[in-house]
C-alpha cells in the first residue's frame, strides 16, 4: 500500500482545517471499511495524500430521541442503529437497511455517515491498480480518452436509468433509500441539507455527493413519522451476507384506514444516485393499497428505464421489489 499521512483530529475545526490544507487530496476516515479497501487496491490514479481520522472527535456518536426528531451522530455504528429499539419500532426501514449492510463485523466498524458518503462499487472503477482509468476517475493521460468501461463491458450490475455516454455506476448504499423515504436531513460543518439533495445533477454523474472535500457530516436528523405510517426496506443481493445490493428499496406509507394518505418510495443501485419513483408515489396516494395497486406502482416505478445489454433483469427486480415493499408496509404493525 502506498504511504499516506494520517492525522487524529481532536475537533471538527481541526479536521476541517486539515482537509482544507490538503485542497481535496485528503479524505475523512471514519469506520474505514470503504476507504481502506480503495487504498489497498490502489484504485485511484492519484491516491489520497492524507487521511483525517474523525473518530478522535468527541460527541459524534450516538442516537438521541428528541422532540419529534431522531438524531443519529455521524459516527454511530450501523450495528447500533440496527439494534436500537426506537429505530426498530418507529423507523423500521432504517433498522432493516442497517441490519443488512455487509457483515456484522463491518457493521460494528462502519458508520451511518460513511454509509451515506461511500464510494461506488463499480467493478471497473474498483479494479485493483487503476487498471480501468475511467471517466469517473477523470484526468486522462496524454493520448488517452476517458470512457465508461461498463457501457460496452459487463454491465449486469450497472444503471438502468443511465445514459450510455455517462458513467453507468450506481449508488450502492443500503441506508440511503431508507433515509430518503423517511425524509432525513444531514447536518454538516457547512449546512443542513436533505439527504435527497446531496447528490449531483445528472450532468455530473461521476461524483458520489455534492459534499465538499473539506465538509464533514455531523449528524443525521429524521423527523418522527406519523403514528399511522409504516415503513419497510428490502435488498436483493447475491448472498444474504457481505454483498452490495443489486437493487434495494425503501418505502414509508401513511395510511388512513386502507387508503394511502402519503407515500415515499426510494430505490437504490439502479441509477448514479438514489431513484425516487414519483409516478409510483403519485398513483398510490388517495387509493386503497391493494395487491394490484402495489403491482401497478411497481410498473410505474420503472417507467422510462433504459436497460443496458446485460441488466434488463434489474427492471423486473425493481418492479417486484416496489410491490413487495408496499405490501410489507401494509402488513406491518
Amino acid at each position: 500500500m502506498r504511504r499516506f499521512k494520517h492525522f487524529d483530529a481532536s475537533s471538527l475545526d481541526e479536521a476541517v482545517s486539515l482537509l482544507a490544507r490538503f485542497e481535496g487530496r485528503a479524505k475523512v476516515i471514519a469506520g474505514g471499511t470503504d476507504i481502506v479497501g480503495t487504498l489497498k487496491d490502489s484504485v485511484l490514479p492519484e491516491p489520497y495524500e492524507a487521511l483525517v481520522n474523525i473518530k478522535t472527535i468527541p460527541g459524534l456518536e450516538g442516537i438521541r430521541n428528541g422532540a419529534g426528531v431522531l438524531k443519529i451522530g455521524a459516527l454511530t455504528r450501523l450495528e447500533d442503529i440496527a439494534h436500537n429499539e426506537t429505530v426498530q419500532t418507529k423507523y423500521a426501514a432504517l433498522a432493516q437497511a442497517a441490519r443488512v449492510v455487509a457483515t456484522p463485523h463491518i457493521r460494528e466498524m462502519g458508520t451511518i455517515a460513511g454509509n451515506i458518503c461511500q464510494n461506488t462499487r463499480c467493478w471497473y472503477y474498483r479494479c485493483a491498480h487503476n487498471r480501468f482509468h475511467c471517466v469517473r476517475k477523470g484526468h486522462a493521460a496524454p493520448g488517452q480518452s476517458l470512457e465508461c468501461f461498463a457501457s460496452d463491458g459487463d454491465n449486469r450490475y450497472h444503471s438502468i436509468f443511465g445514459d450510455v455516454k455517462d458513467c453507468l455506476a450506481v449508488n450502492p448504499s443500503d441506508t440511503i433509500p431508507a433515509l430518503i423515504a423517511l425524509g432525513a436531513t444531514l447536518k454538516t460543518t457547512k449546512r443542513s441539507i436533505a439527504v435527497k439533495d446531496i447528490f449531483p445533477p445528472s450532468d455530473e454523474p461521476t461524483k458520489m455527493t455534492i459534499i465538499d472535500s473539506d465538509e464533514i457530516v455531523i449528524e443525521v436528523e429524521i423527523p418522527e413519522p406519523q403514528a399511522s405510517s409504516r415503513s419497510a426496506y428490502h435488498k436483493v443481493a447475491i448472498r444474504k451476507s457481505i454483498d452490495f445490493p443489486i437493487v434495494n428499496c425503501a418505502a414509508v406509507v401513511d395510511f388512513e384506514g386502507d387508503v394511502v394518505k402519503d407515500c415515499h418510495i426510494c430505490l437504490n443501485a439502479v441509477h448514479y444516485k438514489p431513484y425516487v419513483p414519483e409516478r409510483a408515489e403519485a398513483l398510490l396516494e388517495g387509493e386503497p393499497l391493494t395487491d394490484e395497486q402495489a403491482a401497478t406502482a411497481g410498473e410505474a416505478a420503472v417507467w422510462g428505464a433504459k436497460p443496458l445489454p446485460m441488466n434488463s433483469y434489474k427492471i423486473t427486480m425493481a418492479k417486484g421489489l416496489v410491490k413487495k415493499i408496499l405490501i410489507a408496509c401494509r402488513e406491518a404493525g
Binding site: K5, G37, E108, K240
Partner: protein
C-alpha cells in the same frame, strides 16, 4: 531511524489482552499486520485482506471487528482481545470446538472463535438464529458451518453450569 514527521509514522500503545504494547507504526499498516506479523499474535489470520471473511477478527471494546480493515494507528487506547486470550482464559469455546470437530483445515477457526466469544459476552444464551447471524461475516472454505452452531451452543451451556 523512525521519522516522526507530521502525519507520518508514530508510536501507539496497543492494549492487547490486557497488556500494553508500545510500538512504532506507519499509517498504512493495518491492525492485523501489526498483531500477526510484528507482535506475534499469530491467531489473527489473514485470508481475504478486504474485510470479507472474518478470519482476522479481534474484539475491540466488546465489538467483533475485522482487523485487516482497521489502521493500527487508530487502534491505540482501545481494548483489543485476540484468540490467544480466549485460550489463555480457558474459555469453554476452546474445548467445545474440539469436541464438535468444528474445523477441518483450521485456518478460519480463530476468527470464528473470536466472533463467537463476542456473541456469548453479549448474549449468553443464543439460539440458532442468533448464532447464524453473528457468524454471517465468517467464511469457512472447508464448509464446517453446522459444527459451529453445536460448538457455540455447547459452550453457552457450559458457561451456564459454570456460573450455577
Amino acid at each position: 531511524m523512525p521519522d516522526f514527521e507530521e502525519g507520518g509514522a508514530r508510536e501507539v500503545t496497543l492494549k492487547i489482552n490486557g497488556d500494553d504494547f508500545r510500538i512504532l507504526v506507519e499509517p498504512r499498516e493495518n491492525l492485523r499486520e501489526v498483531l500477526h506479523d510484528r507482535l506475534g499474535f499469530t491467531g489473527t489470520k489473514e485470508m481475504c485482506d478486504r474485510g470479507a471473511c472474518g478470519s482476522c477478527t479481534v474484539i475491540m471494546d466488546g465489538r467483533p471487528v475485522v482487523s485487516c480493515m482497521m489502521l493500527a494507528v487508530e487502534a491505540g487506547g482501545h481494548d483489543i482481545e485476540t484468540v490467544e486470550d480466549i485460550e489463555r482464559k480457558q474459555h469453554p469455546l476452546i474445548e467445545t470446538y474440539a469436541d464438535h470437530n468444528a474445523m477441518q483445515c483450521g485456518y478460519c477457526t480463530p476468527g470464528f472463535v473470536v466472533t463467537a466469544k463476542a456473541l456469548l459476552d453479549r448474549n449468553p444464551d443464543p439460539d440458532e438464529e442468533a448464532i447464524k447471524s453473528a457468524l454471517e461475516g465468517n467464511i469457512c472454505r472447508c464448509g464446517t458451518y453446522p459444527a459451529h452452531i453445536w460448538a457455540i451452543q455447547a459452550a453457552a451451556n457450559r458457561l451456564k453450569t459454570r456460573e450455577a
